[in-house]
């Protein structure tokens, strides 16, 4: 498939899902979209899509589960598992071609990984990672110019000299050395170390020379265009160089001052400048969506922009929230925009409801909802109680909605009848999910309120005893709860 076709197909399928009647698309749409995400190695979107697919569709479409099994193995990087899942079923016409391409891509990625990380590796391991039987695998290695020792069955890959591409996907953050989290320790040999060292020296030289020039030409009243361009390059590689974001802000202020002083009003030039800054932040966010510096610079630019396009900012927020709904930078940015341009509370509440309905397991959405002055009258309390109750009953293992439930229950407007109804419902749920500590905790929250009679105290003691058994990590907390009686 050609990459422009993929983009078109992805867009079509996503559109079909969005516009589907009653919010439920056809099994074929779900299948194809899930398969396309695997082809693109976009496991996060695959995961979110799987969570959105209604249980009824999953139950009636076994092939969908088969595609998901491939995804699960890809997530775990279980190569033998991936190939097994791909080849143990006969795919229907609607996904067969895509799944074949998924296999090709997985194979190609593992070959690249082997070439980057190993100077010698057993043939059996290469065979497992590529899903090719040993003899075919050996022949393929030789074709790539890798040496294969027949007696020891050792393969010696050759590392390709590759150009680094501009964009890194979240998967490829393996070698992102400026980020301290989630760097898997990969064993390398002398040869690999030497190669890596050369590349690193190149990067360091570029950084050192770049910083030197930028700081040397830094001035309150004028700026050097080359330095500005250099700063963009350095920030794209490392958006945490906060001094360079400061530098760029100074340049923007110089341009703003110049435009006031110019006799001929040239709004366009200034706007072009602002747009360039926004473009830079967007580029930085693509490779690192969690950099404080990038988000702050973007907001700062918008505050100075003569014609900011706020709708576009909402679209950006929505895009990043769908890429990672737990990215708090994005949610904070949204809040800033909302406060700046004064969006109606009702609209934001609707947005929050929509996000929650897309994915119950989204702590960030529930949190956002809690900030929208949502529990301000009896009706809204009752509505939110229903909403959160649905969530915990649909997926009692996910913790997000339970935290929100606790908060709703602490509202003085909850009626005795609502509490009793919920308690009964929880008792029933407990029969289906006897190991779920949250159900018992919710019962504690309900029973604890108001004056505690002897009967309530007995029940609470029983609940806490059960909780200690089910959730031993928090024994210290439950014992303290006990002590109150």
């Amino acid at each position: 498939m050609v990459s422009s076709d993929i983009i078109k197909l992805t867009e079509d399928l996503e559109k079909q899902e969005l516009e589907a009647q009653n919010g439920i698309a056809t099994p074929q749409v779900y299948e194809q979209l899930l398969a396309i995400y695997l082809y693109e190695n976009d496991l996060c979107n695959a995961k979110y899509l799987w969570k959105r697919i209604p249980a009824s569709v999953k139950a009636s479409t076994p092939e969908l589960t088969n595609v998901w099994t491939v995804a699960q193995n890809m997530w775990k990087r279980d190569f033998p598992g991936i190939y097994k899942a791909l080849n143990s079923v006969t795919w229907s016409d609607s996904v067969a071609n895509i799944m074949k391409q998924v296999q090709d891509r997985v194979r190609s990625r593992s070959v690249d990984l082997i070439a980057q990380a190993y100077s010698s590796i057993t043939l059996d391991t290469v065979s497992a990672m590529t899903g090719l039987p040993p003899d075919i695998c050996a022949a393929a290695c030789v074709e790539r110019g890798w040496q294969v020792e027949a007696d020891t069955r050792m393969v010696h890959p050759v590392r390709p000299i590759s150009e680094t591409s501009g964009q890194t996907s979240s998967e490829d953050q393996l070698y992102k050395l400026t980020d301290f989290h989630g760097r898997i320790k990969v064993r390398t040999t002398e040869e690999q170390n030497l190669q890596k060292h050369k590349e690193q020296q190149k990067k360091l030289t570029a950084y050192r020379m770049g910083m030197k020039q930028i700081l040397a030409t830094r001035d309150a009243d004028s700026y050097n265009k080359d330095s500005l361009a250099l700063s963009a390059q350095l920030l794209t590689i490392n958006p945490d160089i906060y001094t360079l974001w400061n530098y760029r802000k100074e340049v923007v202020l110089i341009e703003i001052k110049k435009s006031y002083q110019d006799e001929v009003a040239d709004d366009q030039k200034l706007i072009h400048f602002f747009e360039e800054e926004l473009r830079l932040t967007e580029q930085c966010l693509l490779s690192n969506p969690k950099s404080y510096g990038s988000w702050h610079h973007r907001y700062w630019i918008l505050n100075h922009h003569t014609k900011p396009n706020w709708q576009r900012e909402f679209d950006l927020c929505n895009k990043y929230v769908s890429l990672d709904d737990r990215n708090f930078h994005c949610w904070d940015f949204r809040r800033l925009i909302v406060n700046k341009i004064g969006i109606s509370l009702a609209d934001e509440i609707a947005f929050s409801t929509e996000r929650i309905n897309i994915n119950f397991s989204n702590y960030s959405s529930w949190h956002y909802r809690s900030t929208l002055q949502i529990l301000n009258d009896e009706n809204s309390v009752a509505n939110d109680l229903i909403l959160v109750q649905n969530a915990v009953f649909t997926d009692p293992i996910d913790t997000s909605a339970w935290f929100y439930l606790r908060w709703v229950l602490s509202h003085p407007g909850i009626t005795k009848i609502q509490k009793e109804d919920l308690l009964n419902a929880l008792e029933q749920l407990q029969e289906l999910e006897p190991e779920c500590k949250w159900i018992i905790m919710a019962k504690c929250w309900l029973v604890k309120q108001g004056n505690l009679e002897k009967d309530a105290i007995c029940r609470l003691k029983r609940y806490y005893t059960e909780l200690i058994k089910l959730d031993p990590l928090r024994e210290g907390h439950y014992k303290d709860c006990f002590k109150v009686f």
Binding site: W50, F180, I184, K185, N238, N246, Y368, R474, D480
Partner: protein, 369 residues
Amino acid sequence: MEKKDIFYPDTVPILLYNKHIEYLKHVSCSSYGNSYDFKSTESIRMSGIYWCLTALDITHSLKEFLQKPANNSDSISEEERIVNFLLQCYNPDGGFGAAVGHDSHMLYTLSAVQILVLLRKLDLVDKHKIARFISTLQQVDGSFAGDNKYSEIDSRFSFCAIACLYLLSLLDAFDLQKHPSSPFGIDTNKAVDFVLKCQNFDGGFGTVPGSESHAGQVYCCIGVLTITRALHKIDTDLLAWWLCERQLPSGRLGGLNGRPEKLPDVCYCWWVLSSLKMLGRLHWINKEALIFYIRACQDPETGGISDRPGDCCDPFHTLFGLAGLQLLGAASELQEINAVFCLPQYVVDAIEEDCCLDQLRAHRDKNAK
């Protein structure tokens, strides 16, 4: 529901005390300055030095390290090299940048002051000038910006400001509540008010009012409230419960995450633990399981600690892993660490800050064990 989990090894090593000292010495010494990992993290350098030196101090290796010759020359020691670097980062506006030529920032001003306090070299700088720089960062609503030009607001900076003033022994002198006619100072009541506004429905704290609760922000906000003796203003039990829910069962290991439905990470072990300590609820997490987790994150080959078992280690996670183990009482070899400042307790004890010192000492004794 498919849940991503950590990789956990079959066996968990004991505390590799000497290995960590070896690692720390390696990443702290001047010759390490030629490495890529070092050079590519220049924009957080000041904090990196603070992590290394504090970790060396709690492993009783700081004094020896500081006296070593730098760059294999006899002319200056490692200590002098570090002090020279620090002074070059001391900008005319009174703040510190992360490295030479980098702009002043609240984060690196705190790290610099922490280093100076560790080295007992505070007299080398004009403490009042630093305090004045900090006071210019407070906003009308009591929050603090990261720098005095571009107004990035974050509750982390509130902690940096208050902690820094305390370590400079100037919190009292610069408190406008106590000295209303002073030309420079911060309004501690407003600072507390802003922090309280960052508290959420779940008892946790976020970056700014309305931001999602996050263990790192919780540590910062609770730190502010502890130093300013305003802890009584929050729902302690609710927050402590949210914090203890950060512990995740994974076989024998029970690491801590930073917020719900996220993976565990050694740095959160520190921020959650120290917060629980300040709240007097350290016993609400399972110590054994957490100790196993931190020990599983050690690198037996090079020494050092990483965020998760099997990942690369670094000074940041090494400090917080060791500090966490010390707080848990699992490392008698280590110096006692202070939960509020993440500095050795003996260093904090030496700070002359009359109004708060006794309170913090009393608080510490009450929450011991």
